[in-house]
């Protein structure tokens, strides 16, 4: 057994981030970390930590690469480890992250922007009124659209086709919903789009790109969200929600979905929280209530994603008066 090393999170460098509508105060002993977080850094420091997430990142000497992620939670604590040298502990009661990472990981832009920050907001967001919801989010002419559906329903492929049709991209898998000025706001993390290998049948632009294992271990094309030429935006105001249902027939149909059913569908996708987090559970419930209050439809479709995108575009255009109400 190697000797125990006692490390206390060191400080000296402080930054304020704004991530998916949540404010985060980052303290670290490593000045170069700012460079990895620059996409989210605000020009001025927050005056206090009230209502914000606090992150204390201890960077230790070493070049240990991140290993496959392992997540566990107990009571108010959640642990995300990426091998021994890279570990994050999330304290949901105190809205705090304590982490130790290697210098190599501290410099890794992809690690922070595509993994850690989305994970941090996913875990801690509900404690500050930002709720991660398993749905895609797009925007067209100022009107936000949420696209929900079980895994495999085709959210990401359809999102890519909708971007081809002129929608702006917010997110393709996880959307972070919160309130701003009493409006529901859907945030994305500018995360890469993950398209299953068969997406190349519909998007020849993927040719020549590698298929890689994503965080969950599944094989996918992990591509920049603007690879089809669309615009990436950080947030939108959602006006309606569509739940995808795949069928084997090459046709489509929309059916209205009640608030009760929409709420049930969203609730069934969010994680159980322990009794220690009843306040967080309550906050999350309020946001889900607001999402379920949007005009919601089921969309049953078969055929290509481009066909489905045209059908949605036509439907949304016809229902603008309703979704604006």
């Amino acid at each position: 057994m190697e000797m125990a090393s006692i490390e206390t999170c060191a400080h000296g460098y402080k930054h304020t981030l704004q991530v998916a509508g949540a404010m985060c105060i980052v303290e670290t002993n490593y000045p170069q970390l700012e460079s990895s977080l620059r996409d989210w850094t605000l020009p001025t420091l927050a005056s206090d930590n009230a209502g914000r997430v606090s992150m204390q990142i201890f960077v230790s000497a070493g070049e240990e690469a991140p290993q496959r992620a392992h997540f566990r939670g107990l009571h108010h604590l959640v642990v995300a480890s990426f091998g021994h040298a890279n570990i994050f502990v999330f304290d949901l009661l105190r809205r705090r992250v304590v982490a130790r990472v290697s210098e190599r990981v501290a410099r890794d832009l992809y690690f922070w922007n595509q993994l850690v920050l989305p994970i941090a907001i996913g875990v801690l967001g509900p404690t500050v009124g930002v709720v991660p919801v398993h749905c895609a989010s797009l925007c067209r002419e100022g009107e936000g659209l949420l696209v929900a559906g079980v895994s495999g329903a085709g959210k990401s492929t359809l999102t890519a086709a909708l971007v081809q049709s002129g929608f702006d991209y917010v997110s393709d898998d996880w959307t972070y919903l919160g309130e701003l000025d009493n409006r529901l706001v859907a945030h994305g993390m500018s995360a890469h789009m993950k398209l299953l290998p068969d997406a190349i049948l519909y998007f020849p632009e993927l040719a020549g790109r590698p298929v890689t294992a994503s965080l969950g271990g599944e094989l996918a094309y992990v591509v920049e969200a603007d690879f089809l030429g669309g615009r990436v935006v950080r947030w939108c105001v959602p006006r309606c929600c569509i739940f995808l249902e795949r069928t084997s027939r090459s046709q489509s149909s929309f059916a209205p979905l009640s608030t009760v059913e929409a709420r049930h569908r969203f609730q069934s996708t969010v994680e159980r929280l322990p009794s220690q987090l009843s306040e967080t559970e309550s906050t999350r419930g309020e946001i889900i209530e607001r999402i379920a209050d949007l005009p919601c439809w089921t969309f049953s479709y078969g055929g290509t994603p481009q066909f489905a995108a045209r059908e949605i575009l036509s439907f949304v255009s016809c229902h603008r008066h309703k979704v604006r109400a």
Binding site: C9, N49, Q56, H75, G83, I87, V98, R272, L273
Partner: protein
């Protein structure tokens, strides 16, 4: 807000059943231990300096999960300390946190850490963390 009858994801394994419950004293502190591992429960209970509480009440709560899916390997120990939290990492898969403010010890024990080594080597370090004064970090 969750409907209790609705199956919902437990991706973090927060709700693993911990049927092995015991109460004992460490020093003058009554402890309630919950775990899913009867061998670990037995090893802790049988270790020295432990004694039964009279009425089962406890002021310190421990929850230790034997995590068969945690990554194995490594023997390095690292301790992180921030405010009321002390966190001990052993190897690649064992993580135990001591929350001094809430008087809780919560952790996942990887399959490659035996109950005996956990009791003789890891838990004494966790107890040190538990008793250590808090760092003076901004709240």
């Amino acid at each position: 807000m969750n409907n209790a009858n609705t199956p919902v994801p437990d991706l973090l394994r927060r709700f693993i059943a911990t049927p092995h419950v015991s109460t004992f004293c460490i020093g003058d502190t009554p402890v309630r231990l919950e775990t899913n591992d009867p061998v670990l429960a037995g090893a802790i209970h049988n270790s020295t300096a432990l004694c039964e509480t009279e009425n089962g009440s406890a002021t310190s709560h421990w929850k230790l999960i034997r995590d068969e899916q945690a990554p194995c390997g490594g023997t390095e120990i690292t301790v992180l300390s921030a405010g009321p939290l002390g966190i001990l990492l052993f190897g690649f898969g064992t993580v135990i946190a001591a929350d001094r403010e809430r008087r809780e010890i919560l952790g996942f024990v990887a399959a490659d850490l035996s109950a005996e080594r956990c009791v003789t080597m890891v838990l004494p370090l966790v107890l040190e963390l538990f008793r250590a004064p808090q760092e003076t970090l901004p709240q």
